[in-house]
């Protein structure tokens, strides 16, 4: 008889990090090939407290900036300055947006306007691209 697994093992708990009175959701996993991936949800109001300078990492990343009002997820209610590249080129976003950060490119973000309303940044740290194998010829 096949071993019966407890399905609760598939409900995976994140790590919760504390920054002042604010918290950040973090999850670290491995894909089926063994490559690391990560999921992080950060309240935009916490960015000044995290105060992380632009940094490069050895993986591709995507960031999704999302509004905190479920009735208007596109309204960021904050102005965020993004810094990308060795020359720290800056860009400003003030509504929901997505950024792609290639492996090795320095990236940072900071709030330049009001942060009195909640909004979010979801950061996915991605494993290398998986190429779907071609079907074998018959």
């Amino acid at each position: 008889m096949a071993e019966r697994k407890d399905v609760n093992q598939y409900i995976l708990a994140p790590e919760i990090k504390q920054y002042g009175d604010l918290q950040v959701f973090e999850f670290h996993g491995k894909d089926a090939r063994g490559y690391d991936f990560g999921v992080q949800l950060t309240p935009v109001q916490a960015l000044p407290q995290i105060n992380e300078p632009p940094k490069a990492v050895d993986a591709d990343r995507v960031n999704m900036y999302a509004g905190g009002d479920h009735q208007n997820i596109g309204a960021l209610n904050a102005e965020i300055e993004i810094s990308m590249g060795e020359d720290s080129e800056t860009y400003t976003i003030n509504s929901a947006a997505m950024t792609y950060v290639p492996k090795g490119v320095p990236y940072g973000h900071r709030v330049t306007g009001s942060t009195d309303k909640t909004s979010w940044v979801l950061t996915l740290t991605l494993p290398p691209k998986y190429i779907t194998p071609e079907k074998p010829a018959n």
């Binding site: 995976l12 994140p14 996993g29 997505m98 979010w120 996915l124 991605l126 494993p127 998986y130």
Partner: protein, 144 residues
């Protein structure tokens, strides 16, 4: 002079009206095919939206040819562990159920049947999305 060489890595039009899943969900955020195609080193496959009320997700029981994660993300920035809702998910052909009310990543190994997903209780909307770490096409294999 700024040459804006990274502007192509910023997508400013990410909000999409949720097409067909009804009143349980907010609009969702996602990349468009052209932007996603320009991502060279990886293949992100994910979406993000709010679940705004209790009820059953529309997906019928199914499985996939690849591993999938669902993100259940609480939206109290002072208490991120608390999902603000109670969710029940059925696993396997016998619909063995797991229930949780904390923020979580829910893992579906390839081939494992899952759903229905029932939001049994809702205190406040939570952020939700799927994530395919390896980016495979999410082929949905309906349950028998």
């Amino acid at each position: 002079m700024t040459d804006n060489k990274y502007e192509r890595y910023i997508l400013r039009d990410v909000k999409k009206p949720w097409p067909s899943f009804g009143p349980m969900n907010s609009d969702f955020l996602g990349g468009n095919p052209e932007f996603m195609k320009g991502i060279e080193g990886a293949r992100p496959n994910f979406a993000l939206y709010y679940v705004v009320r209790s009820g059953m997700f529309a997906e019928p029981p199914h499985s996939h040819y690849a591993d999938e994660y669902l993100m259940f993300l609480g939206t109290d920035p002072h208490d991120m562990k608390n999902l603000g809702a109670t969710v029940e998910i059925a696993f396997g052909e016998e619909w063995e159920k797991a229930e949780f009310s904390t923020s979580a990543m829910v893992y579906f190994p390839k081939g494992l049947q899952h759903c229905p997903i029932h939001v049994k209780k809702m205190d406040r909307p939570f952020l939700f999305g799927h994530f395919w770490p390896m980016g495979e096409d999410p082929v949905l294999v309906p349950a028998d």
